[in-house]
């Protein structure tokens, strides 16, 4: 119950943030001044402008605006996009699948690689792990989109190994098998980059947690009892490290989303990232706001799910 309340608090904070920001920033269309509104009126087609005005009601008092805003949100009405001239909720719903696809696949691969790697490096405890760690740290600090551009340059334009943009080739796929292969081909490179970005934190995290668990007296005792190495590894070290790893994986899941948005932009992948790019460059406020809200909602949901899992795995938390 407490968790539900906390999640609700986050959702309302996000809604409040998205409500307040456009009204506080000078230069945005909702920073109420008649001249701004006039400029917007002349720049947009009448229909779009009217729906905009109806949705935000900038001429009403702020409290009433907030009430309208919240009522719209409850009905999943996110307004209408300037650029696409369609309801924002509909546009985002059409794109979000690709982003979720990239996110789940890349996180799964990174966890499946990163957790065993971290566990093994911690168990062997050699110098190798330290070097690997510092190399990964350096890699981690490079902006994701820069990494994506370099990869695109190398693998798409120099070696012609992978298609450089999109999620599928338009118009040539006749059957489901070809289509799936095409989708996989297009997603290989974005996923490799995302794994490169997501792997270091997961690896570091597992390494640190397992290094600590390894030193515990009960693991030492298990060694004296001649319990087999693999049993110690999984039953003693991994099982006891897992709750802590999971509780921080949650943060990785949330960080991953911003990486995905940038990789999508570089590869023109038709997910939320490209949408964000269009919204930002055409200053499409309703769409931007919609993306902010959906990202926030996604974050809260992921957070909630992870807290439930952690509670299952380890009731102490």
């Amino acid at each position: 119950m407490k968790r539900v309340l906390k999640s609700l608090l986050y959702v309302s904070l996000i809604a409040l943030l998205s409500f307040a920001l456009p009204r506080l920033i000078p230069g945005s269309p909702l920073f109420i001044s008649d001249s701004d509104l006039h400029v917007l009126n002349s720049a947009l087609p009448a229909e779009t402008f009217n729906s905009f005005k109806e949705y935000y009601a900038p001429d009403k008092p702020v409290i009433e605006q907030l009430a309208i805003y919240i009522r719209n949100l409850i009905h999943f009405d996110l307004g209408s996009s300037f650029y696409y001239k369609m309801p924002v909720a509909e546009i985002i719903a059409g794109r979000i699948g690709w982003t979720l696809f990239l996110s789940f696949v890349s996180i799964s691969i990174s966890s499946l690689l990163g957790i065993p790697m971290g566990l093994n490096t911690a168990r062997s405890g050699g110098k190798m792990g330290k070097y690997l760690l510092s190399f990964l740290m350096a890699l981690q600090s490079i902006p994701v989109f820069v990494l994506a551009i370099v990869f695109q340059l190398l693998f798409c334009f120099e070696f012609h190994l992978f298609p450089s943009s999109g999620a599928y080739t338009l118009g040539i796929n006749v059957n489901a098998v070809d289509f799936s292969i095409d989708i996989i081909k297009h997603s290989v490179l974005p996923i490799i980059i995302l794994v490169l970005v997501e792997l270091p934190p997961i690896f570091t995290l597992t390494y640190n947690v397992c290094s600590r668990t390894k030193e515990e007296p009960y693991v030492e005792m298990a060694h004296y009892y001649n319990i087999s190495d693999s049993l110690i590894k999984f039953k003693y070290v991994l099982k006891n490290s897992l709750p802590e790893i999971l509780s921080k994986m949650n943060i990785q899941f949330l960080y991953a989303i911003s990486g995905i948005l940038f990789v999508e932009v570089v590869f023109s992948y038709p997910g939320g990232g490209t949408l964000l790019k269009v919204a930002a460059s055409s200053r499409d406020y309703p769409l931007l706001q919609g993306i902010l809200l959906v990202t926030g909602f996604y974050g809260v949901t992921v957070n909630f799910i992870f807290e439930m899992i952690i509670k299952k795995v380890n009731p102490r938390f």
Partner: protein, 264 residues
Amino acid sequence: MNKKITNKTAWAVIMSMVFVGVFYPLFSPYNAADFSFQPLMSPSQAHPLGTDEMGHDIFSTLLAGFRVTLGIALAAAVISTFIGTVMAVICAYHKNWVDSLIVKLTELFIIVPEIVVLLFFAALSKPEVYNTIFAIAFFSWSKVARIIRAKSITVIEKEKIQYTLLLKGSLRDVLVKMWRELYPAVATMFIFQCSKAAVYESTLAFFGIGDPLAKTWGRMIRTALNYEGIFTDGTYLWYLLPPVACICIFVVAVSVLAFDFERE
């Protein structure tokens, strides 16, 4: 031994980059705003990195980019570290609902990625350099606040600070008293923030947000990518890769330094 060398190299790289940023007019062969050259020239003696499709000398633009990029990164890092530290001390000072509210706020910035909120803010405001700096500074203090808060909570229990509190010291007095204890952590966070701010700035520019006239490295990458033939006619070698390399070198050098600080 090995640590010392990497640390020194990182310092040397950063210092020379700052040096170029401050004194770039001395090295710059042309004015960065001058677009009177023949467009799309390949590198030559006169133009070490060629010219772009508008006729700017790319080498001069890149050098000018040192000052803007590093300037934005430093300014944003100073402000965000300051906000974060003050927030952290407020948490330790008040401890009641104020503390939990600020903690909830910092958690919110984990749940909604900072960069998305930042993009939202920057896209709404006027495209000026100051707004970019403020956008980065206002939405990237959460990590500073989280880490300094943990430190402050232990530091505030020290006798000398408890004494200040007994004398009804204000928040400012407490901050001044705590400064000496907090300083190392704040310095580490500042270095982290520098790297973060540089990354955020380039990301914003990559999304086409921000002052179009401020030729930061991120903006250079954006304009290079906007040029249609960038990947097909080989111009990326001197057009796209130099700013990419600059960002990578700067960010990596700064993070090497930050991790070194953190270890101490």
